[in-house]
């Protein structure tokens, strides 16, 4: 890896039934996206606790994206509706605290949307890279 080039660190939470499968499909179709994106599998987007997101930022993540089934398609019927409310409020709050709003994102990616998954990750990684390092939410102690 080139030492000088800054690459962002991105954590992606993907629900097992739609978005994680969408990510797999992106792989099956060999659709490239930056290696900056690291996926954590959760059963449903509603498993994502805002604490996980803050923890990631605190530990040095530059962007966090949550992916779930499209509204109406949740494997558990209503999980993503709760996610939608939680994230809407959390993102608004982070922005209110002066955190760049582009660092967080919630996307609906179905198991059939491999291309959307790759495109979303490309776009998000580019957006976050343009912001540069996350300095506002990071816990300096976690820096090596």
């Amino acid at each position: 890896m080139q030492v000088n080039e800054y690459r962002p660190l991105i954590v992606a939470f993907c629900c097992n039934w739609c978005s994680y499968a969408g990510a797999d499909l992106a792989g099956n179709n060999r659709l490239n996206y930056p290696a900056d994106v690291k996926i954590i599998r959760v059963p449903c987007s509603c498993r994502v606790n805002p604490m996980f997101i803050l923890r990631a930022f605190q530990r040095g993540a530059d962007g966090v994206i949550i992916c779930g089934c499209h509204p109406g398609d949740c494997h558990y019927t209503s999980g993503n509706y709760y996610t939608r409310r939680r994230m809407a409020l959390l993102f608004s709050m982070l922005d209110y605290l002066g955190i760049e709003r582009e660092r967080t994102r919630l996307e609906w990616v179905s198991a059939a949307e491999g291309a959307k998954f790759a495109a979303t990750m490309n776009d998000f990684a580019e957006t976050v890279a343009a912001l540069g390092e996350n300095k506002r939410l990071e816990d300096l102690r976690c820096k090596k």
């Binding site: 890896m1 660190l9 954590v11 097992n16 994680y20 499968a21 990510a23 797999d24 499909l25 992106a26 792989g27 099956n28 060999r30 659709l31 490239n32 996206y33 290696a35 690291k38 996926i39 954590i40 599998r41 959760v42 059963p43 449903c44 509603c46 498993r47 994502v48 606790n49 805002p50 604490m51 996980f52 923890r55 990631a56 530990r59 040095g60 993540a61 109406g72 494997h75 558990y76 019927t77 209503s78 999980g79 709760y82 939680r86 790759a118 976690c142």
Partner: protein, 664 residues
């Protein structure tokens, strides 16, 4: 501390082409807990699995990380491998370095680096894994079917034929439902009674089926496999087991002017009655609101004429308690009230009727013995106007009607129009339509026959106003294709009233903790993949309680629901998914947040005693998760403020460990 083995798969060149697998296995060696790390060409092959099994034994492994393809591909495989090696299958985690790494990155350096990080995250998670065992619960091998229409009948017969006992609860004195009121059925025009009544008899004679007619579900407790249900058998004041259904009591009953529900009030019945000739059970019922004996103690004629001695004026409601493994909802539909649509003069003229009333008018067992006579003067109508979509497809904000398409009206209207033209070719028949919707086998052909062979006049437009005057109904309507306003003097108008779920459905859904949409149709567990199941485990949906349906669809869904029930009842024990929510009772506040977000009603509360440091006992309300019902989505874990609720297999600490490993 865990003893973790790491197994990096090459997947031929699929992974090894862009990831330096040797570097990955080497790098992961020094992760906390890792005592063994290796790589191999195909981990999922028998030889690869043997490597894992041998390593488990040789290194006393307590946890396994496989860096390979997607867990959606081979998680199950490696869990079996672990189990074969004597490990708990849930001590396995997969790092997806193929679909989410080697296949999407081109550069070996970045690919390898990311693979290592994904491997570290998996190792961090396994460090916190605990062995999980799926919960088990017994299954009561009996099903309850709520509603005795064609949906309930078909479901009950299919389940009973598979060898399981079934109880049908029907609120009316007889089973048969709406289909028993129909005359002919589209698109084949066979008579409804001819195909329905044999099934009703089958139900009555089936050794595995009990019918609780004139009964209602009072209370439902328990969960999948173990429902406790209270059924109220309303007093019918006739001993069901003794009554022979001879009808002597009916004949002699002096109370003759009770509107007959079966014929939708178009004729009368007695205070003691049998709804129709083929009723099942064929026993009389006394209507307590009409019977003189029950109201004032004066009469008692039926008791005198009953040679079997079946009349029992002292009969009381009876409460039956029973256990069931599965519950099928088949509560059906009703046409909506026409009160709000009086531009069609339904309340002003007896000759404006609904389609269901029309069915009775053309039925040989109906109020006119099947002769098409209009209700007001029993004259033969020469001009009949059918109005489609009355109350269907209305705007959500409109003050009347339903938003959805009632689905069956186009076809039954075509049927009615065709039957009229067939029996009475001298009759002019107009059908006002918005769209004619005929998706279904032989449906459009049927509609075309009505137009082409029977000469039914289909007019694209809508009736705006009906004015009864003299013995005519003045129909004012638009003909959009001719761009004209039409004025037709009709003798009879038939309104295709929208259908809505039965009123009993909503309280039933509450008892079942099953979800409903805003129209009071039951919601399915998944609109495409689990269309006959409710999200509440063990509750299944049959027929129009789930949405508007015709008979063929209803019967298919009824059988599908039966298949699902059989699949459940055939099991001796239910094995759950072990990755379910579980509360830490010491931390639980009993605040009900988790219960509110649970889509399955899996969470309940108990008051539990907790010994305190000062030797007193404190009682607190704490959450309980029913392992047989929880599906493991995790919505509750985030709703829980204290973090008392956690999800096995995806514990907060595990996810945080992954976050930390990735962000290190």
């Amino acid at each position: 501390m865990q003893r973790i083995g790491v197994f990096v798969c090459w997947c031929g060149t699929n992974i090894a082409g862009t990831v330096d697998v040797a570097a990955v296995s080497e790098a992961l060696k020094s992760e906390p807990g890792v005592v063994f790390s290796t790589n191999y060409q195909y981990m999922c092959s028998q030889a690869g699995q043997d490597i894992i099994k041998d390593a488990v034994k040789e290194h006393n492994l307590t946890g396994i990380v496989v860096c390979s393809c997607s867990p959606r591909m081979h998680e199950a495989t490696f869990r079996k491998t672990a189990a074969a090696a004597g490990l708990n299958p849930y001590m396995v985690e997969i790092a997806n370095i193929r679909e989410q790494c080697s296949w999407v990155h081109k550069d070996m350096l970045t690919g390898t680096e990311k693979a290592i990080i994904l491997g570290k995250a998996a190792v961090a998670k396994v460090n916190l894994n605990t062995p999980l065992t799926p919960g088990e619960s017994p299954v009561t091998k009996r099903a309850l079917v709520i509603g005795g229409g064609i949906a309930g009948i078909q479901t009950a017969l299919d389940i009973a034929d598979a060898g399981f006992p079934v109880d049908i609860v029907e609120k009316n004195p007889t089973i048969g439902g709406k289909m028993a009121q129909l005359d002919k059925t589209f698109p084949t025009l066979d008579c409804a009674a001819c195909i329905l009544t044999p099934k009703m008899v089958d139900v009555a004679q089936h050794e595995n089926i009990r019918i609780f007619s004139y009964s209602e579900v009072e209370e439902i407790g328990g969960f999948v496999g173990n429902f406790d249900v209270k059924i109220k058998k309303k007093a019918r004041f006739v001993k069901e087991d003794i009554c022979t259904g001879c009808g002597a009591c009916v004949e002699k009953c002096p109370m003759k002017k009770i509107p007959n529900e079966f014929n939708l009030g178009m004729d009368n019945r007695r205070a003691v009655y049998i709804p129709f000739a083929q009723a099942v059970p064929k026993v009389a019922t006394i209507d307590p609101s009409a019977c003189n004996m029950l109201k004032s103690g004066k009469c008692g004629i039926c008791s005198k004429v009953c040679t079997a001695g079946a009349i029992d004026y002292k009969q009381k409601d009876e409460l039956i308690e029973e256990k069931y493994g599965a519950i099928v909802v088949a509560t059906g539909f009703n046409p909506i009230s026409m009160d709000k649509f009086d531009e069609f003069a339904y309340n002003q003229s007896r000759d404006v009727i609904t389609s269901l009333e029309f069915e009775r008018l053309t039925n040989a067992a109906g109020p006119t013995q099947g002769k098409l006579l209009r209700p007001s003067d029993l004259e033969h109508p020469h001009t009949i106007v059918f109005v489609q979509c009355v109350g269907s497809r209305c705007d959500a904000c409109a003050e009347k009607g339903k938003e959805y398409c009632s689905k069956i009206c186009c076809m039954y209207t075509a049927k009615h129009a065709m039957l009229v033209r067939d029996k009475y070719p001298d009759t002019e028949v107009y059908v006002f339509y918005i769209d004619v919707r005929t998706p279904g086998k032989n449906f459009d052909e049927f509609y075309r026959r009505a137009v082409e062979e029977y000469g039914v006049r289909y007019i694209k437009g809508m009736v705006g106003k009906i004015t009864p005057e003299g013995d005519k109904l003045k129909v004012q309507a638009s003909d959009l294709l001719a761009d004209k306003q039409l004025h037709i003097d009709a003798d009879l108008v038939v309104l295709a009233a929208a259908i809505e779920p039965d009123k009993t459905a909503r309280p039933l859904a509450t008892m079942l903790t099953a979800s409903m949409d805003t129209n009071d149709f039951f919601t399915e567990a998944h609109p495409k993949l689990r269309p006959v199941e409710s999200p509440t485990a063990g509750v299944f949906l049959s027929g129009t309680c789930q949405g508007p349906k015709d008979i063929p669809e209803t019967v298919s869904q009824a059988s599908a629901a039966a298949a699902k029930v059989i699949g459940l009842l055939v099991k001796d024990k239910l094995t759950g998914n072990p990755c379910i929510a579980s509360p830490n009772e010491l931390m639980c506040n009993g605040c009900s947040s988790c219960e509110r977000v649970c889509p399955y009603g899996a969470i309940t509360y108990i008051d539990k005693e907790f010994p305190q440091p000062d030797r007193t006992v404190a009682v607190r309300r704490v959450a309980q998760v029913n392992p047989a019902v929880c599906q493991g989505c995790g919505a509750c874990t985030v709703a829980c403020m204290s973090g008392a609720m956690d999800l096995r297999g995806f514990m907060s600490s595990q996810i945080i460990a992954e976050v930390d490993a990735i962000c290190k």
